[in-house]
């Protein structure tokens, strides 16, 4: 549509909760086996809200909540398995490795990592970084940074 566009990042401002949710659903519907979504943003910015919408886009009906206390929650009943991680409470990347993190990344499902900045060294090279800025009743700004052409393709179908 736009010919050859080299996309490095894409910013969407003035988002209401319904916008965050509809973006999550659309992206979720396009995720592929091995996809990795890294979420960045303060407490209450909407990482879990967005993950819940991604899960709905994958066909998962379960109520997704923050897995802070267990590091990872698995949802098997959607179009693809979803592995929902939350790094908030991790002291060290090794804690992630000890539960077989790499197997989850290449296990044919979709991985979502909340608080990805806490485990930046462990993140796969190919992934979609999503930063959520704002909290409380403020509008949110979402910044999408694709690493790898599969993610650029998804953004072309959804946010661009």
């Amino acid at each position: 549509m736009k010919g050859v566009t080299v996309l490095s990042e894409y910013r969407l401002p003035y988002l209401q909760e319904s916008d965050t949710i509809s973006l999550g659903r659309k992206i979720g519907a396009l995720l592929f086996p091995g996809a990795f979504i890294a979420l960045y943003g303060d407490l209450g910015s909407g990482k879990t809200t967005f993950t819940r919408a991604l899960a709905a886009g994958l066909g998962i009906q379960d109520n997704i909540c923050s897995p802070s206390y267990n590091i990872v929650a698995e949802y098997g009943e959607g179009r693809l398995p979803l592995y929902h991680f939350d790094a908030y409470r991790l002291e060290d990347v090794s804690e992630l490795m000890e539960i077989g993190f790499v197997d989850y990344c290449y296990g044919g499902g979709v991985v979502v990592m909340e608080w990805a900045n806490k485990v930046s060294k462990a993140l796969p090279r190919d992934r979609l970084d999503i930063h959520i800025i704002g909290s409380g009743t403020q509008f949110r700004t979402m910044l999408f940074v694709p690493h790898g052409s599969s993610y650029t393709d998804i953004l072309k179908e959804t946010v661009i």
């Binding site: 077989g100 197997d103 090279r125």
Partner: protein, 228 residues
């Protein structure tokens, strides 16, 4: 006479094998996502035992693939093999997945065993006959290729994943079928048999318990590509 039960679950397949005096009697194998090895392994062993009308007590030695490979897969294999060995009071031998790959085509040298560690990292070793000319290590695919001698047969899922790059930078490199991306329990068993022969006895070759093989990627290697 020596009967070995070998187990490998470090790759995309779960396989077991019965080795008698250095030859392969049987090798059932199941391909799947390595997160589900737990469900397959024990039933496979039960089935193999009943088809040969044997039990754990007839096994002289257990051999297990200790990785590197799938984190969960390696742990399932090692825990199962340690459990069987301890339960039956028999010895156990750990064989690295890199050495097992070398037994895929023992008549060819040199061979590079290459296991994908993702993000352009690999676990690798290079063998000439039965000795390692590059000891098992974790490295980047680019650094490894510089060390691959001419006419090397490259095996393993890392060789498959980086086939194009290896051929470009080392045009004399040879490759095997896609099947070489999995680790076969028969290769684990044959490597264990050789170790018994080399050491002179099962006792000298084995230990009470085996641990997963750890080859740590350095932070620099993990992040080398991110810096670009």
């Amino acid at each position: 006479m020596s009967l070995i039960l070998a187990i490998s679950t470090s790759s995309q397949s779960a396989s077991i094998s019965l080795i008698k005096s250095g030859s392969v009697l049987a090798e059932p194998l199941v391909m799947h996502n390595n997160l589900s090895h737990t469900k397959t392994l024990m039933p496979m062993i039960d089935e193999l035992f009943s088809s040969f009308a044997i039990s754990c007590n007839d096994i002289d030695c257990f051999a297990v693939d200790t990785g590197p490979g799938s984190f969960t897969g390696v742990r399932i294999g090692v825990a199962t093999a340690n459990g069987l060995a301890m339960g039956s009071g028999k010895p156990i031998i750990g064989i690295s997945s890199l050495l097992a790959l070398r037994y895929y085509q023992l008549e060819i040298s040199p061979v590079a065993s290459i296991i994908d560690a993702h993000n352009d990292n690999v676990y690798a070793a290079i063998y000439f006959n039965k000795s390692a000319t590059l000891a098992p290590c974790a490295t980047t695919i680019h650094d490894l290729i510089e060390k691959i001698p001419a006419n090397t047969l490259c095996l393993g899922d890392g060789a498959n994943a980086h086939h194009a790059l290896i051929s470009e930078l080392q045009p004399t490199a040879k490759f095997s079928s896609e099947e070489s991306g999995i680790i076969k329990a028969s290769c684990v068993g044959l490597a264990a048999w050789d170790r018994i022969e080399d050491c002179g006895s099962v006792e000298a070759a084995s230990s009470g318990i085996v641990l997963p093989t750890y080859l740590k990627l350095s932070q620099a290697e993990r992040n080398a590509k991110k810096e670009e």
